[in-house]
Amino acid sequence: MQELIKIKGVRHAYQTDSGPLPVLDGLELSVPEGGFVAVVGPSGCGKSTLTRLVAGLMKPDAGEVWLHGEQVRGPRPTVGMAFQNPVLLEWRSILKNVLLPLEIVPTKLSRKQAEERARFLLALVGLEGFEDKRPSELSGGMRQRASLCRALIHQPDVLILDEPFGALDAFTREDLWMTMHQVKEREPFTGVLITHDLRESIFLADQVVVLSGRPARTQYVLDVPKAGPRTLDDLYTPQAADRLNILRHQIQIAQGRAPAEGGAS
């Protein structure tokens, strides 16, 4: 399988008032086409920085970021992004919000086709009938669903999700996990998901990457082989418990609360 995203030895530091702040150091990541990788790590270790590098919003000090066999040197329309903050435009209807990327990237779709596609995506995430509402009329979870549709409207190769469900309550979050699976089935994408929720990471992704504390490097990679469609019950199997324990332990190491060698605490 072809590697769609490839990050090689990336190093990056922010220039702050108190000198350079190294954020990434020796980061390696590769995501095959159609793969879905979750990235977990201590708060402030550089996860959002990683997404900005992949999206071409910044250049790393050293190392290389490759997308589709091409080195990333700037923003590219083949990327879709969603953040913890849904950032919907209050003055537009939900439908017009979803259509926003098509006003930027070149598209072969006619106006009518574009609108049909937006309606299809909104229905897919369960927002049928809300097309003409304003964002302020929607709940947090619904806004996040709309923001997901906006990230997908231009059929991006890569979907970058930076803690998109972080601000939602547990039940809404689980609903959205199921939605993500349905979306991926109908609209296949290659994804990078940043998350703080280990259950979310093993439920959604087929590979979980643990980053070390700042400056972040790739500390641990856990494969989560997929056997058939996942259901929430899968999170309560002994196998899932094992995986969560491994990840928990790795996070503790990353936070410096457990020694790098030795058993789980």
């Binding site: 999206a55 919003l57 700037g74 923003p75 590219r76 435009l89 926003l100 930027i104 990237v105």
Partner: protein
């Protein structure tokens, strides 16, 4: 809006106005003030009917010059706000200058302006209305732009959108509520500017000049009538801005409760 709410939004301010006028009339009667000390509301209709043609022409002169100054302030204030909103360096450089300029009492500027552009009365008046009213607009636009959350920029920038596109599609509309808030302040300020010029450096034009002639002729009801006419014009302009705000930034309004 329900019929009841519509009724309230008209009837309540009207009622307040009637109460205010009644109190004023009563106060003048109770204190026994003569008209040269304080005119009563009942003195106003005669003043208006005696000079109605003057009120119309002078009122129009005051109004168009105020609106012209305000439009200039909108254009210049928005440009200045954009410059300060997008560039940290320009913000640091221009803010102190701007604050200092705004702190200068505009009454002291009137003779200077009148001296520089001798005889250009329309121009001077518009200039003063402009000078007094662009500050809140510049500040609100610059704050609106500089506090735009980075994610809003990023959703478009990640797709390769230019700075201009980001400005038109996101930054500008997102700043509109602050802009209109400032425009309401600026609209009333612009009136102050116009009248300062008309009163301090009278040229026989505008309501300010009418006020001044009332003063020289000791026609106190006329002076009060001018003040009320000015208040009326101010209210009209204010509500025009409110109407524009409803059209262009109505989305920012949250229904209470």
């Amino acid at each position: 809006m329900t019929a009841r709410a519509a009724f309230n939004s008209v009837a309540v301010p009207l009622l307040a106005l009637v109460v205010f006028l009644a109190f004023w009339e009563w106060l003048v009667w109770f204190k026994g003030w003569p008209t040269f000390k304080m005119a009563a509301p009942s003195d106003l209709p005669p003043a208006y009917s005696r000079h109605w043609d003057l009120f119309l022409t002078m009122g129009w002169q005051t109004l168009w010059r105020t609106v012209a100054g305000l439009l200039l302030a909108v254009v210049f204030g928005t440009l200045l706000g954009m410059i300060m909103g997008f560039s940290r360096i320009m913000r640091d450089a221009l803010y102190p200058l701007l604050v200092g300029f705004n702190a200068i009492p505009k009454a002291t500027v009137v003779p200077i302006v009148a001296l520089i552009f001798v005889g250009q009365h329309d121009f001077n008046t518009v200039l003063l209305a402009f000078m007094i009213s662009f500050f809140p607009i510049a500040v609100s636009v610059s704050i609106g732009l500089s506090t735009l959350e980075p994610e809003y920029r990023d959703i478009l920038r990640a797709l390769g959108a230019s700075q201009a596109t980001i400005f038109w599609k996101i930054a500008l509309p997102k700043t509109l509520p602050e802009f209109f808030g400032a425009l309401k302040v600026a609209a009333t300020l612009a009136f102050i500017g116009t009248n300062l010029m008309e009163i301090v450096s009278p040229h026989g034009r505008g309501l300010g000049a009418l006020f001044d002639s009332g003063r020289t002729n000791s026609d106190f009801p006329l002076m009060f009538a001018v003040l009320i006419a000015l208040a009326f014009l101010g209210i009209v302009l204010y509500y025009i801005v409110v109407a524009l705000e409803k059209i262009f930034a109505g989305w920012a309004e949250r229904s209470p409760g």
